[in-house]
């Protein structure tokens, strides 16, 4: 019976050691941020300019032109008058309740985040599908991205890049990109082996197999991933507003902290409306694009 406290209490590291580790790492991050912050900021500058430009475009264009373009895009993608009418009604209601500008800001950042997620996510998904080693490295990273509380990485990003759109976009992408990566990987891995083998047998190059067979056949799955990504990006709007991203998130945040229930509800509903619109439009588009796949299977 010398010292059996480890039986009842976890034999953890001494506070002094833990402290030393924490201070060293924090110090290292601080000097990193001091040394490279500016160059990293410069790297993101073109994106920032684009974001600002796009937001200005949406806000400063007269509302009816924006609305006409949106409805036009929805129709081009879905060929559904019903959906167009729904979109029109939602946006009119949003505008009527005075949320037009914030909705445009949110729309702009979500659009950019979605496009970036697709541009980054699909190649990563392809890489994962082609290499088991890449998959075994990337999968845990995706798990971390999806479960790590956003502020854990947000504050370091704010230290590096300041508050506003860029850290917001980074936060949204980190949270929203995993589905498109996962489902691209899955979609490509699920492509019928026979079809792929046929392409190889006829002398298709790796590129021809990828773009002529794997991606087109994985498309329904990839579209599901994109859909999920959009939904998750919208869910991050409020979190992003906590580091100064303008849009529907800020009034929501304000109403949460001040208990303005109606304001919160209205802005929350506007976010929901955007989500439903994105969801229905992307799903209808995907279905329309894949119509030939669902022909009746004959024996």
């Amino acid at each position: 019976m010398i010292d059996s406290s480890w039986l009842t209490e976890f034999p953890d590291m001494s506070r002094r050691d833990l402290l030393a580790i924490r201070q060293t790492l924090d110090g290292a991050y601080r000097s990193f941020s001091r040394a490279y912050g500016q160059s990293i900021e410069d790297f993101f500058n073109p994106l920032l300019h684009f974001l600002v430009w796009f937001e200005h475009l949406l806000i400063q264009t007269p509302w009816w032109i924006v609305l006409a373009v949106i409805v036009g895009l929805v129709f081009a993608a879905t060929r559904s008058w019903k959906l167009c009418a729904g979109v029109l009604a939602s946006f009119l209601a949003i505008g009527y309740f005075g949320m037009w500008e914030n909705t445009m800001r949110t729309l702009s950042i979500i659009t950019v985040c979605t496009i970036l997620s697709i541009c980054i996510g699909i190649p990563i998904g392809i890489l994962m599908a082609r290499s088991d080693r890449a998959r075994s490295i990337i999968t845990p990273l995706l798990d971390i991205m999806q479960t790590m509380p956003a502020f854990v990485y947000l504050i370091p990003v704010v230290m590096l890049l300041g508050i506003g759109k860029i850290p917001g976009v980074i936060a949204v992408i980190i949270y929203a990109i995993p589905p498109v990566i996962r489902l691209t990987n899955l979609g490509i891995r699920l492509v019928n082996k026979d079809t792929l083998e046929a392409a190889t047998a006829y002398g298709a190059t790796a590129t021809q197999r990828l773009f002529g067979v794997q991606i087109p056949l994985a498309m329904p799955t990839i579209m599901a991933g994109i859909n999920q990504t959009i939904m998750m990006a919208l869910a991050m709007v409020v979190v992003a507003s906590m580091i100064g991203v303008k849009g529907l998130g800020q009034p929501v945040l304000k109403s949460i902290t001040n208990q303005y229930f109606t304001l919160g509800l209205l802005n929350g509903l506007a976010i929901v409306a955007l989500a439903i619109i994105f969801d229905r439009v992307s799903q209808t588009y995907a279905k329309r694009a894949q119509r030939h796949m669902e022909g009746t299977e004959n024996g």
């Binding site: 924490r22 941020s33 001091r34 920032l48 704010v158 300041g162 508050i163 906590m242 304000k254 208990q259």
Partner: protein, 334 residues
């Protein structure tokens, strides 16, 4: 047989201890606000109430607005150790009037310090930046990274009382006409993040901040002089009001920072209430403690233990000899 008696013993022990607690103080909920000084105070209160007054005190997370509302409407939590009452003046006034809240005493004896701040390195270069006229004149030196056509003023996080007051002062100082945009930092983390990023790189920064805070303890900042002096009446009647139509310029008066309890708690255990009333820090003491917390990355509990161990000179004045002895005994066990 042997096991049985042990179980019986444990049961008796549990029963007596809970009865003992019920006799004296009972269950107490302490709101632990999400900033360091308040967290430290909440943990100090928890330690002293549990070990000195036989309470069964527990911490629950809080924030100025929701905590005060909950205390008035629900009578929970029992204690808010660091309440910046200016932010929720009306609410507190109503609570006191309806005999739901008791203001026990000042938790920061000097009061909190609020203001618009610029980094000292900027003032060293151009002393005129210590005044609002200088800032307005050199508005271009504070560019907004997202929109180069306007300058940036970092406001108070949403949901805090200071969002209203800093917004009204922004109007009163006509900063918008000077080319400034009021940037909503989204959260206190966003605000402090933007300040430390600028400070680490010696870049310009202009915005609202308050003391005592670790940030203002760590970074050398200069409070901008509005040249107006303090007009408490204008501040209370208009600047802190959401519906203030024509705000006039005034410096922030020192903010009263109180320990607030529910009236029920005050009545239930006057001795514990008396301790809460006496427990108070000066800004100098608090800045020192916050700096220690920052350097050691301590959480509230660790900081409170450190405080109890090393600052007997401060806390011994808050309690009588009896309680002091009890606390010392408890500290020996740490």
């Amino acid at each position: 047989m042997y096991t049985k008696s042990i179980i019986a013993g444990i049961l008796t022990l549990a029963a007596t201890s809970s009865f003992a607690a019920a006799d004296k103080c009972g269950k107490v909920q302490i709101a632990e606000m999400n900033w360091n000084s308040a967290s430290l105070m909440a943990n100090v209160d928890k330690f002293i109430l549990n070990n000195g007054f036989d309470c069964n005190a527990d911490l629950i997370p809080g924030d100025t607005m929701p905590t005060s509302t909950s205390m008035i409407e629900k009578g929970q939590p029992d204690i808010a150790p660091e309440m910046w009452t200016n932010a929720v003046q009306e609410l507190i006034d109503r609570g006191v009037k309806e005999k739901r809240l008791s203001i026990a005493g000042a938790s920061l004896s000097d009061g909190g310090e609020e203001g618009f701040w610029v980094p000292k390195y900027m003032v060293d270069k151009d002393p005129s930046l210590a005044t609002i006229q200088g800032i307005i004149k050199h508005a271009k030196e504070f560019p907004n990274p997202e929109d180069s056509s306007v300058s940036a003023f970092y406001g108070c996080p949403p949901g805090w009382g200071c969002q209203i007051s800093s917004g009204n002062l922004f109007k009163a100082l006509k900063l918008k006409d000077a080319g400034f945009e009021l940037i909503n930092p989204g959260s206190s983390a966003g605000l402090s993040g933007s300040l430390s990023r600028a400070y680490e790189r010696k870049e310009p920064w202009f915005g609202y901040y308050w003391a005592p805070t670790a940030v203002l303890g760590k970074y050398k900042m200069v409070k901008v002089d509005f040249g107006s002096g303090v007009h408490p009446k204008e501040y209370i009647n208009c600047i802190t009001k959401d519906d203030c139509l024509d705000p006039k310029v005034t410096m922030f008066p020192p903010s009263p920072v109180y320990s607030v309890t529910t009236t029920e708690f005050a009545k239930k255990d006057p001795k514990a209430y008396a301790y809460i009333a006496k427990r108070s820090f000066t800004n100098a003491q608090m800045n020192k403690l916050l700096a220690w917390m920052e350097d050691n990355q301590a959480d509230g509990q660790y900081a409170a233990e450190n405080f109890m161990l090393n600052h007997k000179d401060i806390w011994s004045k808050w309690v009588n000899k009896d309680v002091q002895a009890k606390l010392e005994k408890a500290l020996d066990k740490l």
